[in-house]
Symmetry: C2
Amino acid sequence: MIPLLVEVTPTSAATTPLVATLFALVVVYLSSKIGGELAVRINLPAVLGELVMGVVVGISGLHLLGGTSEVVTVLSEIGVILLLFEIGLESDLQELLKVGTLAAIVAFVGVAAPFALGTVGLIAFFGVPVLPAVFAGAALTATSIGITARILADLGRLNSTEGQVIIGAAILDDILGIIILAVVLGITQKGAVSALDLTYTVVIATGFLVVAIFAGRLFAPFFVKIVNRLRTRGDLLVSALVFAFGLAYIASIIGSEAILGSFAAGLVLAETDKREELERKIKPVADTFVPVFFVSVGASTNLAVLNPFNPESQAGFAITLFLLVAAIVGKMMAGFVIRPKIPVNRLAIGFGMIPRGEVGLIFAGQGSQVPGLSPAVQTAIVVVVIVTTFMAPPLLRFALGRQEAPKT
Amino acid sequence: MIPLLVEVTPTSAATTPLVATLFALVVVYLSSKIGGELAVRINLPAVLGELVMGVVVGISGLHLLGGTSEVVTVLSEIGVILLLFEIGLESDLQELLKVGTLAAIVAFVGVAAPFALGTVGLIAFFGVPVLPAVFAGAALTATSIGITARILADLGRLNSTEGQVIIGAAILDDILGIIILAVVLGITQKGAVSALDLTYTVVIATGFLVVAIFAGRLFAPFFVKIVNRLRTRGDLLVSALVFAFGLAYIASIIGSEAILGSFAAGLVLAETDKREELERKIKPVADTFVPVFFVSVGASTNLAVLNPFNPESQAGFAITLFLLVAAIVGKMMAGFVIRPKIPVNRLAIGFGMIPRGEVGLIFAGQGSQVPGLSPAVQTAIVVVVIVTTFMAPPLLRFALGRQEAPKT
């Protein structure tokens, strides 16, 4: 058996959901503040400290936070949705479209390279059967938008060309990652995947963003008009949340990702004259939800799977190292393959694509459905997600630190 | 069978908790905005519109919101906690202590009068056995802090003398209500309640607030010092949430009420020089959580129990009317019994104490444990909670409107 990503905390049985949630929130906020403050004092992005403190209070450490509470899980998912809304709000759609081609190349290479390296390597060097090898390769494809955007924001670089390329590419490879997961699981479940299913998944995931943004732009003046006529408290904020959560809900139910919806909502509202006021009002709300996501990611990672002296982990240690190299080299290639006309820090783009997160963890969770996927390979996927997440902040800071950084 | 307060929505089965929560939040925010905006346009407090729209989308209307989701329930409970934190932050502890005696008298009479009227009346006029009569009388005791504070805030009167007396009395009678519930349930469960249990409940519920406030005042300068040294985003807000949720958690686990903890935290932080900045930052967070509470209260009320033409409801219609009168007259007496030295609007105080809410609904939920409590009486309790909640805003507005109201 591989160690579970999520364990039951012993304390949660006797308390009500509210009391358990209050306790979890106090732990999350304390951890995020302590971790963040310590990190910035040793010149690292705050998010790294939040992740590390998450590990300290989570199942690898003090066991104060498990991942079992449905409420905390939903709060953390709403955190990612709000994070993407805020990123959309701070992004410049014109700028994002300008770097669109670059982002598309980075996304495509950043998906294809680790996928090919991982899959071929597992078959050739480790004798892994084709299907589990494809699955493991696919798990390496998607960059974590949440982690990478937060690092960029911590560094004050979200709106740099590199930042926009990374965010654009991360969004695209998330879509590609979801498509690959759907295809791979389709093959493993039915023995084959229908062309119709594949077409549907592709069209929905890529089409939603385009339709949401263009329909949203038509709707935006109407939105501003309504908000200007409201007289009750929370007029702008609550209306914006309806828009963001509404698009996130629509994205979910048509089979795409909730975060694409809130990101589109942010992009659309960023073009209205409400942008500044909304940014100011969404910040405290994001500060309330987003730490739940980062601390939870740290808290639910089990460092025991990293121990090379543990006989259970040893079997897959070579595979883990190989997949880790494939994951890193593949994304670095994505940065260096582009030939932009404007000067761009390609090292930073490569580093920025490294952290795997949400989608990688979703893959790991689906592994049990794949026949022939050994515990060693499944553990390796989890380890790659953890290590890439932890190594990206210092690397990206190093790459961007070589240019002058703006004070924010 | 009495109609249930909470019903299962048919749509929730197929979706994930996140998707269900997103849908619920969109419904909540749309309802609260539409209801609130319509209400202020016909010169009523926004909260009344939120409650009514909650009924429209809830189990008595469109069935878009049930009360079954654990996540939505916790979000709504966090909403009340944040509401009380904000009320504490906007309250003036010195002012509250100044009106302390008045508030204590209002609270005591406002608990004793409806309790006595309801219990004695049920026994004398309707032949209800003693134990269920005591239970029904006790259900009439506690004013809804949430509803009443929100109405005062909507009217810009939270900091008036009347507002402070009402809030202070509502907090005290919530404590008294919880004590009575514990005692009554203790008697019904064991046939008797131990003096030790009773003493413990009284000491804890009344003592917590005092200790939290005075210990908190010693801690406040230390809190400001820490916050001033933080360098990461969300420094003040997240630290304040740790304090508020931490005290709410402590209040819960020692057997008192979470809202007392966050209220104490607000009172304490209101005396620091961070008050204004914190008020500005907590507002958007409160705007995100608090509507979930008000819309949920509306959504989970079943108007079918109000139908006098329904044979099931008819049986208890006279009892319902009687309890309603007892509930209203009892609280009005609380307003008129005081003889303050300063000029105070006693009618407004009486009206302000009328809405029952959280504690009343808790009583209704515990009714099945009381032997001999007939469905008619149990339904009557629910109806009284609903009707008093709906009638208070216009009454309070009427009473306060007779003085000049400040523009906010």
